[in-house]
Amino acid sequence: MLDIQHVSKSFGRVAQPVLDDFSLTAAEGEFVSLIGPSGCGKTTLLRIVAGLLPATSGDVAVAGVPSVGPSRDKAVVFQHFNLFPWRTTLANAAYGLEIQKVPKREREERAMRWLRMLGLEKYAHHYPGEISGGMRQRVGIARALAIEPKLLLMDEPFGALDALTREHLQGELQKIAEQTSLTILFVTHSIDEAVYLSDRIVVMGTHPGRIIREFAVDLRRPRYDYNFRAEPEYAQIRGEIWGMLERELAEDEERSDAAEDTTPMETPA
């Protein structure tokens, strides 16, 4: 479904790429998380896949079709919700369909279906300024799902929410993922969240941004029905990823120290 081949990204004249030769494939219906320290290029990769940012080199294909700019088969859920403050909940949820020129009645019906599913029907005519952060992100999710994409791109979607709301929405996202055949690429910096939601976790490192290792998460689904954190597999994966990220941070510091050491002195002794 999603096929990322040898994608690299450099900004300006900085020698070291933000992303170096990144390749990843995801099957239809698969939930893949990208996790890594800040600066590992996980958001950059998501923006490239979304078509918001051109890759310096490499290819992205969705359902076998090369994917360059934004398109209808992809939808993005943003970290800071990015609702249009001048649109009501319903008009925000229907935004993507409006852009696709779906007639008003039809798009509102389709958007409303998702709002109902996310428990927002009572707030259909409220403005974003009138509803809580958790509700706003539900609108953000409804807006993405309303265009019925094949690929859902989520950029730390629950990062700006309080812990309780976050967990609640993680559960709802799982239910949605179960009921649809959506392929989901999910950026996060929470190991817990990645393990809870993903079929596969891609751990990334910095300088340059690259894949360190992939983990398959075989915990049985649905995971909101039991205390998955009590499972030995949870502790094991969590521990491994944690250790890996810690090593990566330490090595990254050494690498940057080494880089400083080789910097030529400006005034010769």
Binding site: P70, A75, F78, F84, Y95, I99, Q100
Partner: protein, 257 residues
């Protein structure tokens, strides 16, 4: 003594202040009516001008006509130019020198030149209103178009909006508060522009009325158009404010939880 209660509900204090000034003006004004006139004489002059010899309303209508037509042109044109400059770099580069230079020039200095070009009547009023009000509208719209939240632009793009859709669904709605700031400044400038033009070049209109009464030391009559203009500019500001609230129903909403 001013009690705490009076300060909590200052209505009485305000009325008292106005009444005191009016009384003082009445008393002092009568000492030399040509210098400052006095309130009762002004009211009498108003009744005379407004209802007896019918000079006030035709002059006011002349001014209003120029103002409405000129401001309509300047709103439509100013908003369009502002968005074009804000969104299309080429347009920005081409127009920026003129906008900056004309914005900095006191437009009133152009009146003698405009008289040569368009005469002293309706066309002069419209031209001076446009020149007075279009630049704040252009510049505020431009700033609005330039300062649209990057994340909202990304959102429009992510949903595959084309250029026109980006403009209508993201840039324009996001710029509305700026646009209205421009209109508010513009309407005030327009009024100043048209009155000064009428005072310096025209033979009719509210500005000319003020000049004539001043020339003949009819101080009581002079105050009538001045006060009418003051009240009128308050009304104009309120109209723009009302339109802004109608156009941005999301701006003053209360969060439920």
């Amino acid at each position: 003594m001013i009690s705490a209660r009076t300060l909590r509900d200052p209505t009485m204090l305000r009325i008292g202040s106005v009444v005191a000034v009016l009384v003082l003006w009445e008393v002092l004004g009568r000492l030399d009516p040509i210098v400052a006139s006095y309130p009762t004489a002004i009211v009498a002059a108003f009744v005379e001008l407004a209802f007896v010899d019918n000079t006030l309303w035709p002059a006011f209508a002349t001014t209003l006509q120029g103002l409405v037509v000129g401001f309509a042109i300047s709103s439509v044109l100013g908003v369009a130019i502002g968005f074009a400059m804000g969104r299309i770099r080429l347009v920005d580069l081409i127009l920026d020198p003129y906008v900056s230079a004309l914005y900095a020039t006191p437009r009133i200095a152009l009146v003698p030149l405009l008289v040569l070009w368009v005469g002293i009547d309706f066309e002069l009023r419209v031209t001076i209103v446009v020149l007075s009000s279009i630049f704040p509208i252009i510049i505020n719209t431009y700033i609005g178009a330039k300062s649209v939240d990057r994340e909202l632009l990304d959102t429009g793009r992510a949903f595959a909006a084309n250029g026109w859709q980006m403009l209508t669904t993201v840039v324009v709605p996001a710029s509305i508060p700026y646009l209205f700031a421009g209109l508010r400044i513009g309407v005030a400038r327009a009024l100043v522009g048209i009155i000064v033009a009428e005072m310096t070049a025209a033979v009719t209109g509210t500005g000319q009325l003020i000049i004539q009464y001043g020339r003949f030391f009819q101080t009581d009559k002079l105050f009538v158009p001045v006060i009418i203009l003051g009240l009128f500019s308050i009304v104009l500001a309120e109209v723009v404010y009302f339109l802004q609230r109608r156009a941005t129903p999301w701006a003053n909403v209360e969060r439920i939880r």
